[in-house]
Symmetry: C2
Subunit: 242 residues, 2 copies
Amino acid sequence: MNSALDDRLPRYQRLRDDLAARINRNEWRPGDLIPSEAELGAHYGVAIGTVRKAIDQLVSDGVLERQQGRGTFVRRARFNSSLFRFFRFQSETGERRVPQSRIVRRKAMPATTAVASALRISVGEPVISLSRLRLIDDVPLLAEEIWLERSRFEAILALDTAEFGDLLYPLYEDRCGQVVVSADEILTVEIATEMQSRLLRLEANAPLIVIERLAFDLERRPIEWRRSRGPADRFRYHAEIR
Amino acid sequence: MNSALDDRLPRYQRLRDDLAARINRNEWRPGDLIPSEAELGAHYGVAIGTVRKAIDQLVSDGVLERQQGRGTFVRRARFNSSLFRFFRFQSETGERRVPQSRIVRRKAMPATTAVASALRISVGEPVISLSRLRLIDDVPLLAEEIWLERSRFEAILALDTAEFGDLLYPLYEDRCGQVVVSADEILTVEIATEMQSRLLRLEANAPLIVIERLAFDLERRPIEWRRSRGPADRFRYHAEIR
DNA sequence: TAGTGGTCTAGACCACCCC
DNA sequence: GGGTGGTCTAGACCACTAA
């Protein structure tokens, strides 16, 4: 479980994992300055080059950010990150607007087979299910279903739905200490059911883009599963490969 | 142009660029063993750590591959690469079949505005345009339009279209010495025109997925632009983000 | 000016591969 | 046993930031 203790691994790996765990448990929060490379080297009893190698990895994971002459910082939630890419929905003009969000439903429930397998927990474990509608200028753009492991996101249940705001990831960070750093997405196209076309104000049988996303924390554990559907004709998705 | 000579850049960068150029000009070909780190260090007059840093970059670019105890090799064309991902078209079962390819049209022409801007050349420069149909079990799956800068791909014009085979990138490599290592893709959905639906044997007005891909060589110069269209209902696209 | 990260060096020891 | 890449060290000098 805790690779920071497994002495078969190289030191820079164990150091990387230990630093990742310290960030994950909020010892340093996004925006914070972490100790200098020299201090970390002294503290862990390793050479500065080894510290650099560990930090290099966390930088390329997008968790830390170096600033020459200033120090190394925990990256803040990144609103320009590709995690937010499908806000490119609609505007091909490049202006990025954050859509309004409306929580339609929130409930605690036991994990179904599909949810359990996505989140890699056991069937029946407690999860939280959210339904959310996202709109631009009051026009519905995206209908989302979201599942979270309850033990990590208990605080979400207590929160007034009006307090949610338009973005979930900052909420996860502030209220639950859960940071999303990467995700896998699968895109497919399907035809809108009658209910969906009513919800999204589309013609019957209009094509929908379906984005399934499994989001991971920096220890590569799945923490959120969501399925989003929106009108295919307003959609544009960009990916860099290899 | 040639950053290997720009002495404002760090040595490992110039070394990386010089090695990349040597691979690009086929001094070493895919599968070849390159000189050891020690030899390269001696040859370039830098420390071995600096060589390692340059090689590290090329490894993470997917250009080189290290094998402990054996040496460092130029990677072969990678058929399991995500560059080949949308062969996932159709089979959700995981079996990856390479579709047959049929070259429908090939011609030399001057670059239009759109093509020139994608390939970052001047309008009117000579390019090669290919139209290709891809099929599985003789069922059309994807209609592709492909543009190549003529000066790099002259050999493509001379080749018998029957000799093309089912994959283009190995052909680029073998016949033209051009290696694709990364790409940008943009996905959109549109409605099939009458001609397209005939070609792909679809109902009129069926939704099509459109994948525009700009492919780069290892010096990050665009070498191929293609636009592929296929039936949206058989499509599945996977992406890892961040 | 003091402190930080960025580059570069030189060398030690290890694990692995192949002869 | 000799050569390769993988890890780790210790220290020099530079560029940049902030006080």
